[in-house]
Symmetry: D2
Subunit: 145 residues, 4 copies
């Protein structure tokens, strides 16, 4: 039985568009905000500066299916699990809800990279300590590990 | 042999993030901008007001795979085709390039809806005139029509 | 001695730009978010639907002076006061701080309007109940009432 | 008689909000886009990399007054002049129009800085070549030089 990460956020006016609802691109930003809050809860940052190098997690893929809209000032809940924990990549899946209403399901896939100023990111193995913490959130029913 | 829709845009400073590159959420906004330009080129708008009703195209799904970053002031080209033209839905696929560099591939799926103020959108059959124009862009090698 | 409204928020990755800091346009969005939270704390919404009409507060002016940057994941505090409470308009001033560091000072001026779908907003006198609550926040040293 | 810089842009769907019009924060982004296009027209970039250093133009102040709204797919014209050309700072003023309709007037003040990775920007005198080109746009009736 795996753990789930929960995070919530109010829909702000800038999130909305002329259709009166949260713009579809904001769902991707919300998934990223939740991912960053998740890493902070585990004691890290998406930009993790260590003595000798900096780790970051560029995204290589993202997707979302939209089931119902979100309106200004509503509170949306994101519930996250990990559906794939690879050697260097992580796929996070988020279910969006507003109270009892199903809103959306999306995922983002990130790759653990060593980053240095002026050089392209280089993928590295996820450090054991981080992997151990992330593995608690793997959805054992659906995940490919 | 199907037609392709081409559109390009400069990466603006607000598109970038602290990683120095266009934020991944902007790829979804760019696909939407290209879709809207495409509909304008066909003589329509994504918000098409007729005598008795208004048609719009809410999105039900979106996805993108990222291959290389986009930097400030670069010009990105989007080349669009339709990979699925359903009774009421359209799936647009966009290939992002920057000169010879492959940047990303993404898609958005929209549904033709009748919209009225204060009521939920109601999906309707794509009007024959619009369908006829869209059908020229169907990727006959990959599409499911 | 007037009251002050306090609100804080974490700098999210989408707030940043290629200079590595929160984009200057996000300061305006943050002021608006703080204003909306302020109205909620007073028991209202910036879109206040009553039986017979809807009140809203379109902005007519905004300005900001930037003193120091905000970085990803920093917590910024906004402290709000009202510097002008007119018949139908309100000017909110916000001081931005990050811990002891002065970050920015800005203001937005909004006008109380009756709004109806498809018609231009019409300015109206601020309802007495709302005015009474707002008046507690007027900066009596600097304000023009 | 000074020159004016002209630039135009379509209002995109992501620019709009639930009030159905371009969000007020987008006026600041549009001024910045126009400023960057202006510098490109003069042969520079807002991030100008030379052999030994990089010049950039962080903003220290911005303001805007809003006269009428902008709607989805409208074309807005920005007409720019310089109202203050200091030793290291430039204040750009932009008048926004949509056809004959006056939309807004705003300004941004930027400071010419030497920037190096990991160090705070350091203000420097505007290089003579750039100053010469900018000076053609100074509004001689209103400017303080």
């Amino acid at each position: 039985m795996s753990r789930r990460f929960s995070w919530e956020r109010r829909i702000e006016f800038r999130d909305t568009d002329a259709a009166g609802i949260a713009h579809f691109s904001t769902f991707f930003t919300m998934m990223e905000q939740a991912e960053h809050a998740w890493l902070r809860e585990l004691g890290y940052s998406v930009l993790w500066k260590q003595a000798d190098n900096t780790l970051s997690w560029p995204r290589v893929a993202a997707e979302c299916s939209f089931e119902s809209p979100l309106w200004f000032e509503e509170i949306v809940q994101l519930e996250g699990q990990i559906t794939k924990l690879g050697r260097s990549s992580v796929t996070y899946r988020f279910r969006f809800r507003c109270g009892e209403r199903r809103v959306a399901v999306g995922s983002i896939t990130t790759v653990c990279c060593h980053v240095a100023h002026g050089e392209p990111p280089e993928s590295v193995e996820i450090p054991a300590k981080i992997r151990s913490k992330l593995s608690e959130y793997v959805d054992t029913e659906q995940a490919t590990t």
